[in-house]
């Protein structure tokens, strides 16, 4: 192999912050269901700690031998609303606590799956789980929760949309930082390795390894070499870079799956930013030619980026899945934060951007007096974008009590700072309070 190629690979890792963002082991909990909640939770703890016993060790070994940083080791489980439905408990907080305890024992960073899928309606477990979310998330440190309120095949459950506005408000009242552990989805995917939205889908194998890659810095550096060239060249450059990044994800996934003796599921081809300098999706958009993310043209540039990442990555690995695309979480991207602070980026533009990228309104802090109905309105808008465009969308929004536009909230070093963003103050309350279900769109009838 050429020396140049070896040094380029090392530079991608050491200078451009290429890393494996997460190795996530999905574990089915269907065989832990029991009408006695205590017994079910004992089975859950035993299965998790046995199944993922070597996850952290193997990830550390791979990191040492291949020289690739593996940032997070995570678990995702069957949506707890399904697992717990058979028991007679009044709430499911104890399920979150057992997930948290198992995650702590294993040394994994996060565990996802305190989740409910209510896109078409509630079963009894869904109601209890959603009601338990504020307490469950405020009493645990590693548990992540998600609720799917809409899908292209089912439409949008407006009762759930309405309820989730209140759940977010209640959670924020206890601890706004916990809001980053709750995602409200439309078209949630079953093999997503990224948090807070990971859960182990019902059609998945008993255990599976999914890998989420990263690498915004590598894409930006590659684009610095093609300044002023036509946009076709930009697209080709992103594709080639995404290909290389994804190959690394495939390699790590294969090695991890083999060593853990667990089937390899998918590589999630996502560009996931962090608050660290040089690890920003917004900076890629600016490198393409925008003075600031949020400028006119941002949606087009993001569409190009998202599509080129997928095209480059798809050929590089056996199975693509998860969310796959560019993430635009405001508080986790240093340049996004600056763009909001400069007044160049607002919620309306972010909403437009979510129509062409892989997720949604992500890690956005809003004034503490934002009403539950307005939060529900934001959730409904995002769900509509997802349902109509046949893509995943999500809302992870944080109404920060006592704070208003001009203030900010600090989530701690790994998760950055979010400036409080202004929200349209006109009320959607009558619309939200109607309840019911928005029917599935006409183009969902494909049979």
């Amino acid at each position: 192999m050429e020396s140049q190629q070896i040094m380029e690979t090392i530079q991608m890792i050491s200078e451009e912050k290429l890393d494996i963002r997460t190795i996530t082991m999905g574990i089915s909990l269907f065989d832990c269901i029991d009408s006695d909640g205590e017994k079910a939770r004992t089975k859950i703890y035993d299965k998790l700690t046995k199944s993922a016993r070597d996850l952290v060790k193997v990830a550390d070994e791979i990191q040492a031998e291949y020289g690739i940083p593996i940032i997070n080791k995570r678990l995702s489980v069957t949506p707890i609303a399904m697992v717990a439905a058979a028991c007679h408990d009044d709430d499911y907080v104890a399920y979150a606590q057992v997930m948290d305890r198992a995650a702590a024992t294993l040394g994994v960073d996060l565990i996802g799956g305190f989740s409910a899928l209510v896109q078409k309606g509630y079963q009894s477990g869904d109601r209890k789980l959603i009601a338990s979310i504020p307490e469950a998330l405020s009493e645990t440190t590693r548990v992540c929760s998600s609720v799917n309120v809409g899908s292209t095949r089912a439409g949008i459950n407006m009762d759930a949309v309405s309820q989730m506005g209140h759940v977010v408000k209640n959670l924020a009242a206890i601890d706004p930082v916990s809001c980053m552990s709750l995602v409200i989805f439309a078209n949630a995917v079953e093999d997503n390795p990224f948090m807070a939205g990971a859960f182990h889908g019902v059609g998945e194998a008993d255990r599976v390894i999914n890998v989420g890659i990263s690498g915004p810095g590598v894409v930006k550096r590659a684009l610095e070499q093609v300044k002023g060239e036509p946009i076709d060249v930009v697209s080709e450059t992103i594709k080639k870079t995404a290909f290389k990044v994804t190959r690394m994800g495939q390699l790590v996934g294969n090695v991890a799956a083999e060593r853990l003796n667990v089937p390899f599921g998918i590589v999630d081809l996502s560009l996931a930013p962090t608050p660290n300098e040089g690890d920003s999706v917004a900076e890629i958009l600016e490198e393409i030619g925008l003075t600031s993310v949020g400028a006119a043209g941002t949606t087009a540039a993001l569409a190009l980026l998202n599509d080129a990442v997928k095209k480059g990555g798809v050929m590089a690995c056996e199975h693509v899945g998860g969310l796959s695309g560019a993430f635009i979480p405001v508080s986790e991207d240093a340049e996004m934060i600056r763009a909001v602070s400069r007044g160049n980026l607002n919620i309306e533009k972010l909403e437009a951007m979510t129509a062409v990228c892989s997720v949604g309104l992500d890690m956005i802090a809003v004034p503490g007096d934002t009403s539950a109905e307005t939060l529900s309105g934001m959730i409904a808008d995002e769900a509509a974008i997802g349902v109509i465009n046949n893509k995943t969308t999500a809302v992870r929004v944080i109404p920060v009590p006592g704070k208003t536009v001009g203030d900010s909230i600090d989530f701690g070093s790994l998760f950055g700072t979010a400036p409080i963003m202004p929200v349209n103050e006109a009320s959607p309350a009558d619309f939200i309070q109607r309840g019911g279900r928005i029917p599935a769109p006409i183009h969902s009838f494909k049979n």
Partner: protein
């Protein structure tokens, strides 16, 4: 077991000798070696092979990183499959 070892930093007298003798001490056979100045930096790439049962990956990696620290150089060791995966179809 095989791995790619890269040595990067300010050029100085005796880098090749010091790295090679450390590898010999660790019973790592050098099966390929190239050295150049890349963007003004001394850059050496070696492929090493050793008996994995006798010597752990970690031990060799740590010994080389320690040597790098003494010499003010960045010495890394990574399995070859990484480079093949990223750079070869």
């Amino acid at each position: 077991m095989k791995a790619i070892i890269t040595v990067v930093g300010q050029d100085q007298v005796g880098i090749v000798a010091r790295v090679a003798s450390q590898l010999a001490e660790l019973k790592v056979n050098i099966i390929d070696i190239s050295q150049t100045l890349m963007h003004g930096s001394f850059t050496m790439i070696l492929m090493g092979e050793w008996d994995g049962e006798q010597q752990s990956f970690d031990r060799i990696k740590t010994a080389l990183a320690d040597l790098g620290q003494q010499l003010g150089l960045d010495i890394r060791m990574q399995r070859q499959e990484l480079f093949d995966a990223i750079q070869k179809l």
